[in-house]
Symmetry: C2
Subunit: 213 residues, 2 copies
Amino acid sequence: MLLDLSHPLANGVPSFPGDPAFVATPHATHQEQRVSVTKLTMGSHQGTHLDAPFHFYAEGKTIDEMPLEPFFGPARLIDLVPGGELAPNTELTVETFLPHADAFDSGTRIILRTGWEKQFGKETFFTDFPYITPEAAEWIADTGIALLGMDLPTPGKDAWGTHLPLLAPGVEIVIVEALRNLDRLPNEFTLSAFPLNLKGIDGSPVRAIAIIE
Amino acid sequence: MLLDLSHPLANGVPSFPGDPAFVATPHATHQEQRVSVTKLTMGSHQGTHLDAPFHFYAEGKTIDEMPLEPFFGPARLIDLVPGGELAPNTELTVETFLPHADAFDSGTRIILRTGWEKQFGKETFFTDFPYITPEAAEWIADTGIALLGMDLPTPGKDAWGTHLPLLAPGVEIVIVEALRNLDRLPNEFTLSAFPLNLKGIDGSPVRAIAIIE
C-alpha cells in the first residue's frame, strides 16, 4: 500500500515566513490552445520538502550533489505522542529521544510524529511548533542516521543551532520537513522521498511516499 | 543500486518550445542572510516530467487526482536499438512494437529506449525526435499498461493523435517524458517516479529513479 506523506501544493498554500509564495498560473488553456500547461513558481523549501547541506553551509552539498541512497529505503516511525498531539511550543530535548535511542541505528531513516501536522494552514503552524533543542540536534547528529523526517515546519526555533549539527560536513543528515499522514504510518515501512534534480540548489519540494507491506 | 533517470534542472536548460523557462533566482544568500533559499520558476512539463490526463482532456484527472500505484513498481525496458541510437525522425509504428508485445502486460510499466536522450540540449531534441504514430499509440493504449516512459521529449509529432488515446478516460496511462541513462538499465527493475502533489495541475517534473537489484 502506498501512503502519501506530502501536503498538496496549490495557490494560497502557506509558505515559510519570508519565503516565496507558491503560484500556479495558466500558460496554455483548453479554451485557447486545446491543451493545459501551467507556469509554477515556488520556493526551494515549499511545503513538504527537504534541505541540502548548502541551505546552511556555503560550502555544503547542493541537492544534485547529495547521494540518492538516503532518499529511499527502510524507515522507522518515532511517535512522540501516540494517538494525540504535543502542545504548542513543546521542547524536544535529549531526554525526549533517549527512550527511542534503539531506533536510531546508523544509516537508517527516522520519521518523527508530534501531531503538529494538524496545524498546517494556520498562521501558528510556523511559529508555535514543538521544537528540537540544539543539544538534541547534536545528539541526533551523533547517531549517524541517514534521514530525519518530521511533521514540523523546521526542526528547531534556533534554526542555526539545529540545522548546523544535522547538515554538518560528514554528518549530512537529510532533513525532510512538513510531512503529513504520520498517524497512518506503521512502525516500519519503506520511504521514497527523492528531491527534484536541482543543480546548485539548497532544497527541494518532495513527494514523500510510504511503501507499506 | 539506485540509478537516476532524470535530467538536471538549472538555468539555461531547454524547455519544450513555447513552454515557460526554468529559472532559479537567489531569494536568500549566505552572504546576506547566512542561509540559502531559492525562488524556482518552471513549466509543469519541464525536463524529465509526467503528464496528467488533464494535459489533453479538459475533464481529465489532474496530478493530485491520479492514483499513486502506477508511479512505483516493477518496470520493463524495451530497447528499440540496443547499443545504438535511432536515426532522427524514425517512425515508431505498430510493427515496431509487435516483436515486444509480450512485455506489454496489463498494469505494468514500460520504458522505451531510442537513444534520443543523447540529443538533449540540442535545438533538434524537440523537433527531429523518433516518434510514435497515432496507430501505435492506440495499440499501446489497448494493452492496458499503467505507465509508458521514454527518452523522447513527447510521444509523437501528432501531439493530439498520440496523447489522446494514451490519456483517454479509463485508459489513463502515465506518460513519463525526457528520461535519461536508459542505456544503463537492465531489462527488469523497480521504477519510482512520483510527481509533486500539485493540485489541479496538468503535469509535474519528476525525479525518476530505477531501483536495480
